[in-house]
Symmetry: D2
């Protein structure tokens, strides 16, 4: 393999640039040329493809977002679209592809692999919702952005002795809410993986009030429902006022944390190693603090593992 | 005057603690005792009042929120409430009061002054909506929190080439939106002080798209309307998708900026000077980079001055 | 066991407060009283010991430093000193102790254990120099502080096209330098674990210059030598000017990262579990992303494992 | 005037990029072309000059450093060098120049003005050492970086109950030390403008110890002497241990604060206005919160005004 491609797809995540850099330099170090494909799979179809040199990925390790851009691409979901993509790859002489993105993005990679074009995935998403990996690229940075915001909210919550409901991203996976809630001492953590009834939420709020707690924070993953609605329900049940803050897209951006930069370096390098070694259809993962790889088709039948221990620990520590 | 009190009232703002520290130490330096009144005017009525020593305000200069807490107090708005407050002040031997808060809070101070109890105000609010002062305490910190958030949103906006509508606090005063929009190169700045029609907003978005701008940001003060509604209007008029982020209470918290800490020091010290010098019914202000004082009753008939130049400059720079 | 104690000892590290909170609440949750011992082992001798309630550890999860303070204590290193300490513990009815600190601090715990007083250690130090654990409490936060500083230095390095030598803490262990260098794309990483000769450093600087790199960064752990001396050596060998920055105690402080807060929660809880379960003389660790415990005496014969892979990867990515 | 140039010179400062953006867009808005001159005056001589379009300065408002780079240039100090520079400017048809930098850089601009080539200066330096302006571009950002670092040091200082001596930049002007010391409650502030004898420093340290202060911070501007030497002197005089931290080039980098971005916008726009209006040999300044301009030759005979009030206030507040 003398030429490989790299693209970012799906929602952007901090550390994607660091991963692109790692892919490019690991490949060039091994004498392989790298091509950047712009705007995700769309760029594969339109041929928005450029050769990347060592210095093209200089000074990006600390940047949020992705210099390769990302986009949705309906056309690539069709057989015709993928045929055009394969043609473009052949035109540029690209023989293998690294896809950085979420599980939706990996399906595209699997299709290419099935068409005889080897692809390796790197899990890049803040949601930590991908099976087979303890952490996705961007999760740690997003978590730090969230706790920084909650720390700020806590100042004002304490000054006014108010209760806050804070909504964070996470449709199917509550990891952002769970880790942030544990890290910031939230009274209640509402996540899709666990049912929590309104009475227990209200009871925990009351318990905090009783022991003179100056601030009370409920953190909710968007998959559970809107923070506004929960505020209304709390008001209806217990005549208790709460303030709502939705931490939206702020959490997606920002300079990657040290953990994410190092993870990006390790995953990008591993992806190149596997691709050059003849592997395909795999996703790089970190498990038990080791960089490993899993078959993507296997993964797609699984669900990201929920950490019951952390959930219980959060309950213990917010007494 | 041998004993003075200090309280924080209204919405909390970064720098309130630094101002409390400055009041306490400036007074003690001049041989005067200081009493902290907790939970704003409510504490005046309930007698939640404690003597503050030099070290009680140690290690708070960098803290967000207010160690004296803040609260609404309906009772103080009645004649009976204020009579109780005066009694409490007499009980503790407190002869003068520094009130740190917004213009609503100053009305309470004016009432006390009219009852023969001298009061000086320090403008503490992130909104910069107080007449007679170029800057309120907390405005600079809030602004920095906002631009930090917009910088993060920009990462993801650029990666996806998306348009964002970002709502910030500011009911009657658009200064947070105006300064943040100028500081961050927003395409449009929607503030209560200026009418901007939908066509011009859409036109500016289109212009950005045409010259290949990767991100487009509209910043809107809450006084103009909800970001959600503007997003819907833009969609209806121009079939253009936008993402919405509401920067809520996050902006109220956080460690005060250097500017706000120094401002707090200067204002707190000046308030003590005036009070001990026999002044009353005045608000400390910074105008033309000088610490001055204005009669509060005069101020309450005025409106915070709108900076037309900054508004026009923002338009020039976002071409 | 009905009463346990907790102390922090040695150099402070971000996350120590979060760990104290976790110990206190985990114990109270299980019906056990907790006593805070102030100023490390010194407080054991002087009897500076206070009962901690749930709310005494409220609002500290996000604070740097340690509310229990830390100090050196020569007296505790003597037999007499330790006898006094045991008496104090008996006086308060404390039956077990959690020690949060570095390996020096654990020796004290081992001595107490040998005297029949059960002790469990939690590795709290930014240096990541403790054997048996992948990460120490505070390491992740310190790393993020370092990369934030290097990102800033990079702005000025790039503007002037200058070379910088940046010294970070780490006497016997180069992990801070290694991880930060990998995370920030340093040209050379000088750590006690690996010899790197001056010629190779100069060669890498020259290579960077040749490919038009705007900034060149050498990161050096203090255990290798002073940055100043390395700058002089580079000047002498290659007539090349470099700027030096020593990131000193700044790196020790600051609000703990999400990773460190969660780690503190898990370790603090585990320490209480072990202590109440009859364990002693052990240190809590995180290995392969699992919370485990090791015999301290065993550990003290070992060295923190050096990650050769990361070191080689840093070389690959800084081509 | 149909074409103007812009360059950055001297030490870089946060906000330089925002000022370049403002110059470029203000000029283009008025129908004038702008040329970027790279590497300061050196680029004038080598002809490293490129036309800048609106989008060339997109996405830089938040970046530290300067995209135009900066460098020293001995050749420009000679008559021959300046003659070549004038030729280059003529070759590109550039009729006026905006120079962003410190007072050294303005001398070059004055020389060009004297040769008939109109030049306007924008004061960009973190040191705030330029006469005629209350604030230089970059000062506010540097100040915030410094207080963030001191807040971190305070965590560790408090935990160990240690005294710290912190050195910041500032050769002839102590403003960074003065403002940071006031903002962070330093015990002593040592600046070139004021003599402070060792006895008084020691006395203030002792006073802090006596009233149980957990941390004591002395902040020193580099113009006064090295922090190391002061530490030795304190040790010799009072047998008191102190820790030293030198906040070096970290303070020069980083994303500009809101204040600096808005200041950059206003100054950049004003510089273009003046240049197009026929002005020359002037420096833009902010005085009493208004953007004004002064004759550079006049300024160079003056000294930046020292704020005695702030200095005295710092003493009052650190009792």
């Amino acid at each position: 393999m003398k030429k490989i491609g790299v693209l970012t797809s799906g929602g952007d995540a901090p550390g994607m640039n660091a991963a692109v850099r790692a892919v490019v330099r690991s490949a060039i170090y091994r004498g392989v040329e790298v091509y950047g494909i712009y705007h995700g799979y769309k760029g594969l179809i339109t041929g928005n493809i450029k050769k990347l040199e060592v210095s093209d990925v200089g000074d990006i390790v600390q940047r949020g977002g992705t210099i390769l851009y990302t986009a949705r691409c309906e056309e690539f979901k069709t057989e015709e679209g993928r045929a055009i993509a394969i043609e473009q790859l052949k035109k540029f002489g690209i023989e293998g592809l690294v896809v950085i993105g979420g599980d939706g993005s990996f399906m595209g990679g699997v299709k290419l692999t099935q068409l005889g074009f080897p692809t390796i995935g790197i899990p890049g998403t803040i949601d930590n919702d991908i099976p087979g990996t303890d952490f996705t690229l961007g999760f740690d940075t997003a978590l730090n952005t969230i706790i920084d915001a909650i720390d700020k909210i806590r100042d004002t919550a304490t000054s006014h002795e108010r209760r806050f409901i804070i909504e964070v991203m996470g449709r199917g996976c509550g990891d952002l809410a769970l880790w942030a809630g544990l890290a910031d001492g939230a009274e209640s953590i509402l996540i899709p993986e666990k049912k929590e009834d309104l009475d227990s939420i209200v009871e925990r709020l009351n318990r905090g009030l009783e022991r003179g707690k100056k601030h009370n924070i409920i953190i909710v993953a968007e998959g559970v429902g809107h923070a506004d609605e929960i505020a209304k329900a709390v008001k209806a049940r217990a005549n208790m006022d709460t303030r709502v803050t939705v931490l939206g897209h702020v959490v997606r951006g920002g300079s990657p944390s040290a953990f994410d930069r190092v993870l990006a370096a390790r995953m990008g390098n591993k992806a190149v190693e596997l691709l050059l070694g003849g592997d395909k259809g795999k996703m790089i993962a970190i498990q038990n603090n080791k960089i490993v790889a899993h078959d993507i088709l296997d993964l797609l039948t699984k669900k990201h593992e929920f950490n019951e221990n952390l959930y219980q620990l959060a309950k213990v520590l917010s007494i």
